[in-house]
Point group: C5
Chain length 364, copies 5
């Protein structure tokens, strides 16, 4: 989660449009998956291109251009650390230099830009990694043209696998729709992953709820604090997404067809639901902190009671014992044979009265 502290883009002090990669992936190979499809069942083609260090970029990339206007081509680029490749793709498809810089700067917040012949999106994915029981962040850029979509992912992961699967197996209506529906499917896929992250945060919160009252150790507090920060990160990524999808669904971008609008409205509803859940979690987490603090106060109070009960009972008795341990020559009580048993009776009576008093005060 150290993302929250890192904000300075590595291009600091450089002219705008300077292409410098700011992420963590340092592998030099870039893998590009090209998927061609349209509504005809036999027309489906998927090929993978790997561009290594010394490959001839020029020819490989010029082939990315979609030759057939009736086909939707999805170019899925994995690895954004090879600046030369990104630049070449940018030149080939006529992408604005500032957008190329955005693709490389992986600390961006989600945003959308309209250009003459494409829509540009920066999106943030949070994928729940069940092995390490933690969230993985990634920046994905999507560029959508009339019949092509380019996606840029930082590292190879399973994020867009379900979409590849769906196109391949011709499930749902994706093959009969245009590139804007592919865009919708990709966004929907990202939002679905938010739900998984939320479910995991929710589950941890639910467990915490029972534990916090009995166990006031600092570990629990740290878990709660970590959840709050995951929630903050999620909020940062979802709020801008809401604006983006909200404007897609409302405004008339010429690249978004009318029949895709209900689907965008649907994913918009999901985003609102994500936001509602985030806000609920925030409320719940702060309610838990109150309970936690109260539990500590309660415990201190109970510790105090134990101390006070013991002290209040024994301090006066010890005083009495001290009195009859004095060595005055003339202490008549010490000389009478009933002195000792009477003192015991007095001490037991005092203790019993104090016990009764604590009982009445509901302390024991």
């Amino acid at each position: 989660m150290e993302d929250l502290y890192k904000t300075v883009p590595k291009t600091f002090g450089m002219p705008p449009g300077s292409l410098i990669y700011s992420g963590k992936n340092i592998e030099s190979d870039v893998t590009i998956t090209i998927t061609d499809y349209n509504s005809k069942p036999d027309l489906f083609d998927e090929k993978v291109i790997v561009i290594s260090k010394n490959d001839d970029i020029e020819t490989k990339i010029i082939n990315l251009i979609n030759p057939d206007p009736d086909i939707v081509r999805w170019i899925d680029v994995i690895g954004v650390n090879r600046i030369d490749i990104i630049e070449k793709i940018g030149n080939t498809f006529g992408i604005h230099p500032l957008h190329l810089e955005d693709i490389l700067t992986v600390q961006n917040r989600p945003k959308m830009d309209e250009d003459e012949n494409y829509l540009f999106f920066i999106l943030k994915t949070m994928v729940w990694n069940d092995k390490i029981k933690d969230v993985e962040f990634e920046q994905d850029s999507i560029i959508m043209g009339s019949n092509w979509v380019i996606t840029f992912q930082e590292i190879k992961n399973q994020l867009f696998m379900p979409v590849h699967e769906r196109i391949k197996s011709n499930k749902g209506r994706i093959r009969s729709m245009d590139s804007d529906y592919l865009l919708y499917t990709l966004i929907d896929n990202i939002v679905d992953n938010y739900f998984v992250v939320l479910e995991n945060i929710g589950g941890t919160l639910e467990d915490l709820e029972d534990e916090l009252i009995s166990d006031t150790s600092r570990e629990k507090l740290k878990v709660l604090y970590k959840l709050k920060r995951e929630n903050i990160a999620l909020r940062n990524y979802v709020w801008p997404l809401r604006e983006i999808v909200g404007s897609l669904q409302k405004n008339e971008y010429s690249l978004i067809k009318h029949k895709t609008l209900p689907y965008l409205r649907d994913v918009y509803d999901h985003i609102i639901q994500v936001i509602d859940t985030i806000e609920n979690f925030r409320d719940i987490a702060s309610g838990m902190l109150d309970i936690y603090l109260t539990s500590i106060s309660n415990k201190t109070n109970e510790t105090m009671k134990v101390l006070t009960i013991i002290s209040t009972i024994f301090i006066p008795l010890t005083f009495l014992a001290g009195v009859y341990g004095m060595n005055f020559d003339f202490m008549p009580e010490l000389r009478t044979p009933v002195g000792y048993p009477i003192l015991w009776i007095v001490m037991i009576t005092i203790a019993a009265l104090l016990m009764y008093w604590f009982k009445r005060k509901n302390w024991i």
Copy 2:
């Protein structure tokens, strides 16, 4: 109330419009109540259809279509776990697949969609179950056409009973109005149930108010915490409803007739009142938490005072007793006969002075 933690729809990773039931009801029978009426007093017909596992769905559902434009038909479907039935109803009435998906996904937030020839609503009901002293949640979907209304309920409960009763007994003006008035009556009924839930939350809050000051046990805190979460859930359901009814009452949906508008305005006022009450409860609950925390602090302070008073009085006296319990050969005080009584006088004086000092500090 575990609802607040569950948000991921079961359709995750599926193409949009995939019909998968995400609720808890697993009974396979679906009960459909068809109510036909118009303003003519004799024209009222109510019949119940049960569709079991192996029934012929096709013919049963084709009969649901309202044959007479002068009649309002209300089709009340109980049980949404039979995907095949929901799908068939959807096809018969021309419902968009995304709306069918919404009906089956019971974790939706309240929403409204307009389609060419119907209005679609997802609503959330909170019914107070007086037997188990808790709130029961349910998702209800309403589809309103020109002369028909379809309602989908998850499980068989008493929610829409009063509406059935009112139509049957021809009370009020419902029989002389159109399907939009039936829609209004159903929403009004749901909002009325919110009031009942609020009254119960309010009652518990009122009881808590007196108890919290004297009883700082954790159980009270848990009750308060539970109330806060019920309040959060209610808020989640009512705020979107406000938008929905607000737009119904203002905008010109062709399916909403002009003479129904005052009634929608009335239910809108009720929703605002629900929201006001929720916000008040929120303020009151956080005020109570302050009182609770303060009470604990006060108790700790009082415990401390008891300990301090006892210790302050007896520790010096015990010291004195200790001094005259020492075994020095030359301690003249021990030899004089007035030593012992004088010591008692000194000790009583010290205790009295300390008591007086505590009295002046208002500690006792």
Copy 3:
């Protein structure tokens, strides 16, 4: 103040427009005061009609209609528990059934509705009852037509007395203005009462301010808590009123004449001032809670100091006394005649050093 917990209207589950009285007043007599006036000094008439249980309602109410368009008639109805009378008045003046229901449902929030030939208002009054030192709530409904105003009050109180007086004595410009100015005067009168309530809350807050620092008893906290809740109630009633008067003063309702607008603007300014004061009180009250909590912490700290000082001084001394109270055969200190005085010197030195140390730490 139990108002905050009661929200469910008694008409729950009834058809809309069902007339059921939900208030507390159960007297069966309804008193109606009819006041006729216009700018002519001699034209002033005020008569009181009492409608008892078995009176002929029909004829009495038909006479309420204003016969003369040049006269303003104010019909002040006290008691809204007689549903038959309210219904008859409603029919006579053409009031919408939903508005009659609103008049009878005394848990409404303030609202305004426009109808074809009248404006309908639900207002909330808070009257400070100086005898019981508490606030009394009431719902007042006002219906304003072109040359008539009907007011409904729950119980007989002094609320509108000043207005009656002003018309009678022809003070100010009320007699020369129309029914909209009467409406203004009534609202202004209600807002003036808010100021009185605020002044009393303010006075109690001011007293509390000095007391809270020295007196941390729970009673003070309860007073503060009660003030906060009165403030919440007031806020609930004033915010909607602000919208109402705001729209009256701006929008062009045909029943509101142009020369009344400055007066409505004036009462609008007063409402804003009420809201400002409420928000200030809220800030002040939460500031006081901070002070209260801090005072408790401070007290605990001081109690702790007393205990620590006493313990720290006497526990080591008691230990020393204990040492020389031991019965070892060979303790050379016990045998020397200077042992005892030397020990005293040692003990006094220790005590003095500890005192000095506490002094330096600013504890004493």
Copy 4:
């Protein structure tokens, strides 16, 4: 600062426009300073009129009317307790009765009203009185006509002195501008005084910042609390002023000339800066409260440590001493000559081990 609690205007229950003075000044003399000027260097005239109890108001006031359209006349009225004078001025200049009432009701919030031939302002001044080290509040009303400005001040103070000076000495461009520039100058002067008050609040806050950590006495808390309330008062006065100047600077009031707009924009920027500072102070003050509370908790914790260290070390030792002070006949330890020194060694060892343990826990 008791202003925050006083809100009820003394005209309660009176017809609107009733002229009743609600302020504190009871002197019966009213001082009016008339300043005439225009851009011609020799055209400057300033005369002071005092209207005492029995003076002939009529003639004195009729002379206030500006006879020459080329001259700007500023009429500065000090003292608003003489209702007859205010009323006469109102009649002479055609001021609406509601505005006259506002001038007399010194509990108003800042506001602006436009009338046919003048703009009416209620403004609030906070002047820092360096002698009593406190803020003084006052209400000032300004009425601006085409070539005249009337100002009403409650009491004689130095508030508008700099403006008088600037006109007299012909500094800046005031003499070459119209009445709207005079209005601007007066508002600017009032806002400048807010800066002085803010600087004083800021200085006290800055001092507090260092003191609060070491000194947790209640006096510091009271100072902080007083600052917070001064801040609230300031906020109440500045926010409405922002709206007023904001609309002056934007909207097209015919009385505001185009060349004055940059100056109004400038004072608007200053007001925004005042608001920013107020909000900062609010944040800083609540941050200080956190520090204060934390300091108390820290102190309690340290007090506890002292007590615990002393008790933990001496209570076991005292127990040991007690054991060997027992009078059993058969206690072999007592009889051996090395018993006493060995016990001392044991006790010192125990003490040393406990000290070491506390050291490791960083308690000492």
Copy 5:
């Protein structure tokens, strides 16, 4: 950081447009760097002019005017304490007196003003000084004309160095663009510095996060408090900047060319990201304060436990020892030889039982 407390401009009580320097720099030399450039590679000229105390200002400043409309001239003025120079520049370029006053008043908040032939900006820079590990504040004013830009800096620092470098070395597209692109580059440079400051705040926060739980000393709290205040200052400077750049990027200022808009949009996105980070830091900091407070409470609780355990175990034992230290003549226990060992067994048993009880309560 004492900036937050200083708000009163030194021109208080002066006519508007009075030129008085309110900053800290008192050096009398003013250094002006003139940079001429356009897209032609050979056309680049940079010369430095130093104006000392007795120099002839007139002739030096008249030369600042850009003689060639095809050249962009950037006049970078370092030092704003020489009022005469600022005034002369103002006259030469036709700057409004109020803007000159703003340049000299270094306590302004960021703002933008449009004049007939230039845009005027007040900006705030926060430069991280790595040597003193603290933030340095400065006010920079920028005036942009059609083919010239004047910048005013308070003191000589490295702020605009990268921009000078970029023009000199002809990196990026700055030399081929107009004065509006230079304006963009300067703003972008300032925003980049915010990122550096944020990164430093973030780093300190990250360190604090681990330290706060174990170390509850006041020093850590002071660091947290200082961070919060730096955050407040940053917020004050960035929010107005957001409005300024937002309007630049949207509105049609004739001086801003169309092809610069994407760049302004890019810097706008960066500003939004700065704001997001600031709000995150605010949330994180308040979460840390909660952890800090909780840690203190936890520590107090643990201190209490130590005290209670020790006291609870030894106080009863000491009492027993006291009992058998009494000097009654008839105490049979003292006479039996097994008395002493039995007492030890009893005492050890009591201690063991108490230990077991504490173990079960999870105290040890």
